[in-house]
Symmetry: C2
Amino acid sequence: MSSSLLDQRLAAAARLVEAELERLLADALQPDELDRPQRLLAAMRHAVLAGGKRLRPFLVIESAALFGVAPEKAVAAAAALELVHCYSLVHDDLPAMDDDDLRRGRPTVHRAYDEATAILVGDALQTLAFEVMGGASHDDPAVRAELTVLLARASGLGGMAGGQMLDLAAEGRFDGGAPLVLAEAEIRRLQAMKTGALIRVACLAGAVLGRADAAKRQALVAYGETIGLAFQIADDLIDLEGDAARAGKATGKDAAKGKGTLVSLRGADWARDELTRLVAAAATHLAPFGSAAATLDATARFIAEREV
Amino acid sequence: MSSSLLDQRLAAAARLVEAELERLLADALQPDELDRPQRLLAAMRHAVLAGGKRLRPFLVIESAALFGVAPEKAVAAAAALELVHCYSLVHDDLPAMDDDDLRRGRPTVHRAYDEATAILVGDALQTLAFEVMGGASHDDPAVRAELTVLLARASGLGGMAGGQMLDLAAEGRFDGGAPLVLAEAEIRRLQAMKTGALIRVACLAGAVLGRADAAKRQALVAYGETIGLAFQIADDLIDLEGDAARAGKATGKDAAKGKGTLVSLRGADWARDELTRLVAAAATHLAPFGSAAATLDATARFIAEREV
């Protein structure tokens, strides 16, 4: 698949998902509410409706498409994943966490509003994600309940939140310690939790929506794990070599924090070779789907080669 | 029902729920995890396994019992509600929010650990709540999915988180403003969201677990709304007149913040009369259940008369 065709599919999915997110956040308050929670709603909209690649929802939609599920039937689950991603960004940016002022070139929520509002924005976005996953992600409540559990497992102590905790520990944030020197296996584990788990579950969610058999579920899980790792290595390369204006966020942060990444451990040349290897591995995992998986195959290359 | 018999039932439910919470938090990490997320798990345990009345889980268990549901069949849903309650306390206590050092006579999570850990504790406890509700609250996935949505609606923008936002606004926390003077209807709306929604859904959850008909669901919703209001008025009375050592938390905070409550607006005598009226109203809502509802009837009195 050409990169321009992939761009078109990415843009179409992003439009669909953003319309769904817009609808969820417009409908969230009834007109007879008090005026004051409007501040919370406005800040939630600031956090969610700020553009971005919408990669995780795209993976849900494209994985589901392998099983003949129309994008309109996958968009609620896709939006739920994006809400979890957005909540995590709001909380990760907080002063007590990564203390970031910019996100996608705009002020972070606690800079545009305040810390208390940003904490509540993250909380309420996580809640909304589970409301959508439990209530609207599929006609069959058994599928909705399964997706709810899968999303929770990818997000909590054993997934994204646990990974963020490991990341803060690796930066030496607790007990007044210096940054920890992590072994490669520990860095990989951290990545699999912090950024990998949500990408993995995005691909798996498509299989669940499509009522895929165990082999095809497993193929999409393996694909998701592979591109999740590629995503993180590309992210670390951007942080090492990238331009802040282009990336829309500060770069050079890992080195400034003394934080070990696979790229700092193995070097940029190794990282570029590894990305090539991961793109090939992703294609292998997609083989059972034949030409129907051309978009996901192109997505793996897109993730490995991205510069923002 | 005598108050000592109610105490026994409260204690029995608390033991059951605490065993469930202990199990959930012990099982949450596999032994081969890295050491570092253990800090997050330990902080989650600090937040959850700190005693307390376990009122919300008790309401789930006792409401479900009206329909012949055994406590063991209601305890997962009960634990999920308690996890949401505990997450909200951890985040409400943060320096950017209410800035509390003590909770139930022990250091709050951000005092015992640090702010970043406390933010992640709240996040991961919310996630765990939805994992439990979506995955283990009932044999029937349709019930699990319904309970997931009900819990989310009680917790998010239109419920607990939205209510906390209103509460911060009422304290004049945004735009450098003075405390807002709220009308009685606005105070009632704030209470219904911040503390009422979760108490209401605890009672409704029992009806959903028991597959109650619409009339009995509605009766339990009305009961839940009534005792939720009584809970808040009793809480405001404790803050106005109570002793910090006995309450296990700081008192006099509402007045110090210039925060309007129903009690500050109408006076302590009105509040005590109103509590008597609410206890009678709760009994009316329970009438369809006859003597089976003796425990819930006694619970309404317990809530209205509590001093801690």
